[in-house]
């Protein structure tokens, strides 16, 4: 049983987050809640990437050049894998930009229709001439 969780518990938690986010996008009627669901999905995926960057007994990937004098050889396995962190920085920025655009769209929708409930919006949209 321990092997099931050992080292992998982060992935189960983020998988749960992913499913919660997808549920919100699909099931919730309010558009803001759908947007929150999208954010949760993005956060879950980012966390999966970041969680996969760890190594046992590793430390932050900052090269300590002012530390021990005369330490010439750097062992790469002492440090975490910094690549997923860098990639996820970009992914976070992308998520922020997406959320910004989404909020602008939501404000525009609210101005035109007065509601943010998807069922009412679809009714109003279908009632309009094409």
């Amino acid at each position: 049983m321990a092997e099931f969780w050992d080292g992998g518990y982060a992935y189960y938690a983020t998988a749960l987050l992913l499913v919660i986010g997808l549920y919100a996008i699909l099931v919730k009627r309010n558009l803001v809640k759908k947007l929150i669901g999208l954010n949760i999905v993005q956060a879950a995926i980012i966390l999966m990437w970041v969680a996969s960057a760890t190594r046992p007994d590793a430390t932050v990937p900052v090269l300590d050049t002012h530390g021990e004098q005369g330490k010439q050889v750097v062992d790469a396995t002492d440090y975490l894998n910094p690549l997923p962190h860098t990639l996820m920085l970009t992914a976070i920025v992308v998520g922020v930009a997406t959320t910004g655009v989404a909020f602008a769209l939501l404000i525009s929708i609210y101005r035109r229709y007065g509601t943010l409930d998807e069922a009412e919006l679809l009714e109003q949209m279908r009632g309009e001439p094409q």
């Binding site: 970009t90 930009a97 655009v101 769209l105 939501l106 919006l121 094409q130």
Partner: protein, 493 residues
């Protein structure tokens, strides 16, 4: 200059996109000229790149001088050179007419509109040229965000259509990122060529299947592959005509490019045909999408919406060509990319002209008076319609010919039936418009009294150029296929 070509193609558009707001502060009429010049320069560079690649083979460019797989590289091989040339050229032709449409439908919003258009085109070129899987995601999101903004500035329900597009598109991109996670953890690299080299050792790993499926689903959203196409009709219908004319010819094709790149080059032929039935799934979904799109297009009453469903069907042809998994079908798919770009560009420009001159684009209100008012526009529509149906010597016939050959090579006669039936369905909905336009008029109004009110030259010229292009692509398709497209399928496909 020449070794920097793979970089310059997206960079020109990106620099222009960043300069546009600054120029707009000085004098906002200059922004359109900046955009037009930038796209023209980009088209020139892209065609130059295509010529270089056809002569000299694949070019790669290491960003910042770091060697892959550590660094990001841009790859200009026949596939990406062809796609980037198509994107830039079609965008240039449509951009000539875009200003008239923007002035008509989005007054005083030229500066943000053209800035966003340049960003979107820069994103498309970046997608096509990058050789790194994560860089692909970044450019995918750049283009997508610009697309959401461009769709949202139309009338009525366009913010809602844009929001639904955003939800689906962002979720799709996130799923692509998740699939990439599996591939990265399997191979330790993000470079396309590197992954292609390392993957064959781990074909039995279930993570590979999961990663591949997630990436395909993510790209399928962008490409509007059958069950993931739901965002397209509303987005294309509600968006302003200038946006649709720019997005429809090239947006989904870029998704198709990514699909080709992933299935054919990164994951490789034997994996997607023999080990995992990915190519077959893509093929069947595309076939269903073709029939579904064509049938629903018949049911539409408004021209833009009809063309949107027709786009779903046409992307199905491209997916069918990819899924058939043989070189002839792949050539058919890529040929259909350029054909459809030109055809849909012309068709959406016609729709834009109708909106500008008549104030509507309802099919039920088209009659011979409309044709009297817009004779050249309707002529262009006719050429494009014949090509969509697939009548020689227009371009559409030849791409369907290659697709059918590919299906016959594999013995899949049902796909031949699908292509034939869908051509008949295309005929139904296009002939309906043509019949109304040429043969129907109210007898109580004399046709001679109708004044000719043709589109402004800035909009008419691109429409005519694209229509002529359809005929040219049809007549000279052998040159294109033998010169460029034959270089595309790799050895193992």
């Amino acid at each position: 200059m020449t070794p920097h070509l793979p970089l310059l193609i997206p960079l020109v558009l990106l620099v222009a996109a960043l300069l546009a707001p600054l120029v707009g502060i000085v004098r906002y009429t200059w922004v359109y000229r900046l955009a037009l010049v930038a796209v023209a320069v980009d088209a020139g560079v892209a065609l130059w790149g295509l010529a270089e690649v056809v002569d000299g083979g694949t070019m790669t460019y290491r960003l910042a001088g770091w060697q892959p797989p550590i660094g990001i590289e841009f790859v200009l091989d026949p596939l990406s050179a062809f796609f980037s040339a198509v994107i830039a050229t079609v965008a240039l032709i449509v951009m000539v007419g875009a200003r008239a449409m923007v002035v008509e439908e989005l007054p005083r919003k030229e500066v943000p509109f053209f800035t966003t258009v340049l960003l979107m085109l820069a994103g498309f070129q970046g997608i096509v040229l990058t050789g790194d899987l994560f860089n692909l995601f970044v450019f995918l999101e750049i283009a997508a965000l610009a697309g959401y903004a461009l769709v949202a500035v139309g009338e009525r329900a366009s913010p809602l259509a844009a929001f639904r597009y955003l939800l689906v598109g962002a979720t799709g991109a996130s799923l692509y990122l998740l699939g990439l996670w599996f591939i990265y953890n399997l191979t330790g690299s993000l470079n396309m060529r590197d992954v292609a080299a390392i993957l064959p050792g781990s074909w039995d790993n279930p993570a590979l299947a999961i990663g591949l499926s997630l990436m395909i689903v993510g790209i399928g959203v962008k490409m509007a592959l059958f069950p993931l196409h739901g965002w397209l009709p509303d987005a294309y219908t509600q968006a302003p005509s200038a946006t649709t004319a720019l997005m429809a010819p090239i947006g989904t094709k870029v998704g198709a490019y990514v699909l080709i790149r992933l299935l054919v080059f990164v994951f490789g032929g034997p994996l997607v045909t023999d080990e995992l039935p990915v190519a077959d799934v893509v093929m069947w979904l595309s076939a269903i999408g073709i029939i579904y799109g064509s049938i629903l297009a018949i049911a539409q009453r408004e021209l833009k919406r009809m063309l949107a469903y027709s786009s779903v069907a046409q992307v199905g042809y491209i997916g069918l060509g990819i899924g058939l998994a043989n070189p002839v079908a792949l050539i058919g798919a890529v040929l259909h990319v350029v054909n459809h770009a030109v055809m849909k560009g012309a068709l959406f420009l016609v729709a834009g002209t109708m909106r500008a001159r008549l104030g509507h684009s309802d099919i039920g209100r088209i009659d011979a008076a409309v044709t009297r008012k817009l004779p050249w526009t309707m002529a262009a529509f006719t050429v494009a319609a014949l090509s969509m149906i697939g009548i020689p010597p227009t371009a559409g016939f030849f791409s369907k010919w290659y697709l059918t050959s590919g299906a016959v090579d594999r013995g899949l006669w049902i796909m031949v039936v699908v292509i034939m039936v869908s051509s008949l369905l295309n005929a139904v909905y296009f002939f309906r418009v043509l019949e109304r336009g040429y043969l129907r008029h109210d007898d109580d109004e004399s046709l001679d009294a109708v004044v000719r009110d043709e589109a402004p030259p800035a909009m008419l010229a691109p429409t005519i150029v694209l229509a002529v292009g359809i005929l040219a692509l049809g007549v000279f398709n052998a040159v294109l296929v033998n010169g460029v497209l034959d270089l595309i399928p790799p050895a193992g496909w």
